[in-house]
Structures are given as structure tokens and as C-alpha cells.
Symmetry: C2
Subunit: 166 residues, 2 copies
């Protein structure tokens, strides 16, 4: 798929078919995440891949709006050091993962984990790390089950030229 088409066509989607993600597709989306740039190329992000249904159910209970990840065949928890980890760089990595996934025909959405301790207890990362965000992905549910729209504001509302306009 063309890069521009993949970027502008990607929508955050939280409904999945139960079909597993192939190892090959998973490898590609992880590589896409790996190649995201980071501040000073420090590469502080790490990814824990969660596919076990019970573990995904635990992650689904770890965020206020995370129910849907119980039905996502793959959940990628992005783990960062509390000291130095940057939400901007997590966002860059997540976007690479999700746009690459879309290019493979996979649906995806970010998820926020509000219950830091529960995620840590499950995944086993140390106290000086946290996993505030993750990505759920999988093959999309049939279109009749969920119609995504998420309309965007017009470009001239998003963009100002030279100076902020009132």
C-alpha cells in the first residue's frame, strides 16, 4: 500500500475478528515500531507482546477504556523508564506500528493503562518502569459489526500560517 494512502486512510479501530495475527505480520509491525526515531536516539521504549487471552483480559481491566483489548488478538504494551521515558516518542512508535498494521490490512487502536501496578504485576517490569500506553491490533471485524467514522476537523481549522489566528 502507498504510504500516503495508508497514513490518511488509517482509523483507530477497536473491533477485531478472532483470527490470530501471523508471525510474519507481527514481525513487520514490530520492525516498524523499532525503526521509529527517538529523542537523541536513546531508544528507551520497549515492547511486551501479549497474546494470552487471560493476560489480555487482565490488561482490559487495567485501563478505564481498555475493555476492548480483551478481544484484540495482540496487545503490545510499550514499557519505558519512568525517568526519561517520553510520551512523544511512545506516540511516534505507536503510530509507526499502527500505520504499518493498516498497510497489512490489520486494525489497531492505542490503549491507555491507568492501573500501573496491575500492568506491572502482570508483565513483570521493574518498579522504575511503567507502561502507560499500548496498542491493540488484529484482523478487523466484519464491516457490519463496526462502522468507524472519526471525522476530522477541516485542514484550515487545523493549520495556521505564520501566526496563530483567533
Amino acid at each position: 500500500m502507498d504510504v500516503y494512502e495508508a497514513i490518511v486512510d488509517k482509523r483507530d479501530t477497536r473491533s477485531f475478528s478472532p483470527d490470530p495475527v501471523s508471525d510474519e505480520d507481527l514481525h513487520r509491525v514490530l520492525q516498524a515500531g523499532r525503526m521509529a526515531g527517538s529523542a537523541k536516539n536513546q531508544q528507551l521504549n520497549r515492547i511486551v507482546v501479549v497474546t494470552d487471552p487471560d493476560d489480555r483480559a487482565t490488561l482490559a481491566e487495567s485501563g478505564k477504556f481498555a475493555d476492548w483489548v480483551a478481544g484484540a488478538p495482540v496487545v503490545l504494551a510499550i514499557v519505558v523508564p519512568k525517568e526519561g521515558g517520553k510520551a512523544f516518542d511512545i506516540g511516534r512508535m505507536a503510530q509507526n506500528i499502527m500505520v504499518a498494521a493498516h498497510g497489512l490490512g490489520l486494525a489497531s487502536c492505542p490503549v491507555t493503562f491507568h492501573d500501573e501496578d496491575r500492568v506491572r504485576d502482570l508483565l513483570g517490569f521493574p518498579d522504575d518502569h511503567e507502561a502507560p500506553m499500548g496498542v491493540g491490533l488484529g484482523h478487523p471485524a466484519p464491516p457490519e459489526e463496526e462502522k468507524q467514522s472519526s471525522p476530522r476537523i477541516p485542514l484550515d481549522e487545523l493549520v495556521d500560517w505564520g501566526r496563530w489566528k483567533a
Copy 2:
């Protein structure tokens, strides 16, 4: 360009030729930014496009490591409300912009603006907004002027399966 190729091939680059970015290319990268998802589709990010050389020089003085944006033909300042703005969503938007730019043959890099007041004074956004990050972009300098490497850690160092490993 293929989406996967664009994503894994993109490197953060801070050296540019003085050639201007065409209106068509700029429109496409802005559209790529516009289509980035955001928490609850709130779309709190706004973009101020800065091309004036004096204004870019001011932005270059607004960050600890921002010198290079004086030589970036286009600087996009991403403006968010202090209340509610999310660095994760800024990262998603910036990555869409930069991957789309790479697909068009444009070089780009994020920039951090540490001097919030200076950026606000220049661009004119209100006190309850900030522009912590931006993106500089343009046509790349000839390869002999800058050789980018930014090697990445191996995939098996980035990724754990099911549980965090020591």
C-alpha cells in the same frame, strides 16, 4: 513509496537544502498530520506553519537543541491546550507528518521548544496553550553533507514476549 518501506527507511535528518517545499508537498504532509488519530478523537493539536527566515531563526533560539531549524525551510509548530493536550497524540501527528514527508523525498526531524514564552510571543497563541514540540522539514542536503546513521537496537532487545525479561 510503499508504506512499510517508508516507515522503516525514515531517519530523523536535520540538514536541508535551501530549496523551498512545494505547496503541494506541504499540503500532503499537513493532511497526513490531520488524519492522525487522537484520544477520544478530541483533535486538540493545531499546527502553525513557519517559513519566514526571521521567524525560523527565533524558533531556533527557542530550544536547547533547535539551532538547525533556522536552516529548515518549513517548521511546523504543534500547538496544544495546556489542559488536555497529550504528548502521545503530538507524537502520533508528528510521525504521520514525517513518514509522509519521507514518502515525498523530504527530510524531517522533531524539535523540542524549551522556551515556551518565546514561541508564544512569536506565534501569538493564547496563554492557556503551549507548543512543546515541532517538526522541521525540507529537501535533504546532499548526502556528502550529512550521513545519518542512528542505528537501532536489535529487535530481540526491543521486544519481549508475554513477560518482561531481565
